[in-house]
Symmetry: C2
Subunit: 240 residues, 2 copies
């Protein structure tokens, strides 16, 4: 039996059940926090400070730092950014440290804070992420942020894509039941992911917000090839 394991956890709330001392945790919030984080680093951000509450983000903002805050898919007033990847494209993030709080993604980072290693996953960095993970030679836990602690389709589809790519590239991993199920899900959804996700709950959540452009961008593989990793309270770019 393969030495290493990949499993998936479908909610930050469920993380304590899956937590161990040796797995690398990949935090996933495809729409849109982890996509936005990848974009920020791709455009040269130096550090991101993920925080759980708006109050914490506001404290950093008051200290003169750039700060992003999103709740229920909407950018909060008084902040520099929401969680749209487009907010983080451009020279204005270069060499900057940014505080960030979001409805789901930064909550998942918070839940997994004490894991062996925590990295950030999205379609935008999928290939470099998978290569980096295989190089680490560790078990992997794919932590889907979901929506307010419930299972969601887009994070699960991405976790299935990661599972498929890793077992295609390495024979060292066995699959937990969560990843086994997501591998099947990905087989069904991979050809037309936008259409596949059309029936899922984000459609309803985002209906009035005109996020089509964001959604299309967040499903584009490898447009931000970086691996953000948690070091203490900061996310930074991992060496590739």
């Amino acid at each position: 039996m393969p030495r290493l394991k990949i499993d998936a956890c479908f909610s930050p709330y469920l993380y304590p059940v899956y937590a161990d001392t040796e797995s690398i945790v990949v935090v996933i919030d495809v729409f849109r926090a982890t996509s936005a984080i990848c974009v920020a680093f791709h455009y040269g951000a130096e550090k991101i400070i993920p925080v759980a509450t708006v109050e914490e983000a506001l404290q950093y903002k008051k200290q003169g730092m750039l700060a992003g805050a999103e709740r229920d898919a909407i950018k909060l007033e008084g902040f520099d950014f929401g969680n749209s990847p487009y907010d983080y494209m451009g020279n204005h993030v270069k060499d900057k440290t940014i505080a960030l709080t979001t409805t789901n993604g930064t909550q998942a980072i918070e839940a997994a804070r004490n894991a062996y290693k925590v990295v950030i996953g999205s379609f935008l960095n999928i290939d470099v992420l998978c290569d980096w993970l295989i190089k680490q030679n560790c078990s992997i836990l794919l932590l889907c942020s979901g929506w307010k602690n419930k299972f969601n389709m887009e994070d699960s589809l991405f976790a299935g894509a990661v599972t498929q790519q890793i077992i295609d590239k390495s024979a060292d991993y066995r699959l937990g039941d969560g990843c086994l199920a997501l591998k099947y899900l990905y087989q069904i959804g991979k050809e037309r992911p936008t259409k596949f996700l059309n029936y899922s709950s984000h459609k309803e959540r985002f209906a009035k917000l005109n996020l089509k452009k964001d959604i299309r961008y967040c499903l584009m593989p490898n447009s931000a090839p970086v691996v953000p990793i948690l070091e203490g309270k900061f996310l930074v770019k991992a060496a590739l």
Copy 2:
């Protein structure tokens, strides 16, 4: 948009996130607690008292009641039954009240105890269960017991089967993301469920226990057409 909702919760641990005041909760532990419960009622048991701890089951046993207890797929010493459906086949359960504690299934019942209604699902009662659910005209939450609070394949496959059957029979339901994903999973697994489940974690868990006969039985649709429902501390047969 359809009035009613079907969603799935993949772990008793996650139940508080999904709990509401109007959904009927279907507790699912295909291998093997909810299959065994259906069999006991099919063979004429009058009541089952699901309890969370071995100590509680032992108290009932000491009072002269029949009692079943299973942990880690093994029947505990000093009890009348484990959680094999075969333990509950025959005249010895007729008109009896049975106390029961299991690793996963009775924990899920415990978690959902205060739901609007709680019923028991397994492949053995799938058709009558779906018909009964549709007749109730309520939203539905499929609560998969999983394995020690982790997602498992067999409960998810069954939840996908229920989802498919209900939307085939009624247009009144919209799907939460969990059920949407499981519907796809069921489409892949339905033709050869035993083979489909062959790669999942129960294989490893049950490897030394020779449970092939149980597994085959637990995947036989409609062999115990009853709907066990929780009334106070007792499971009883619902009127069909």
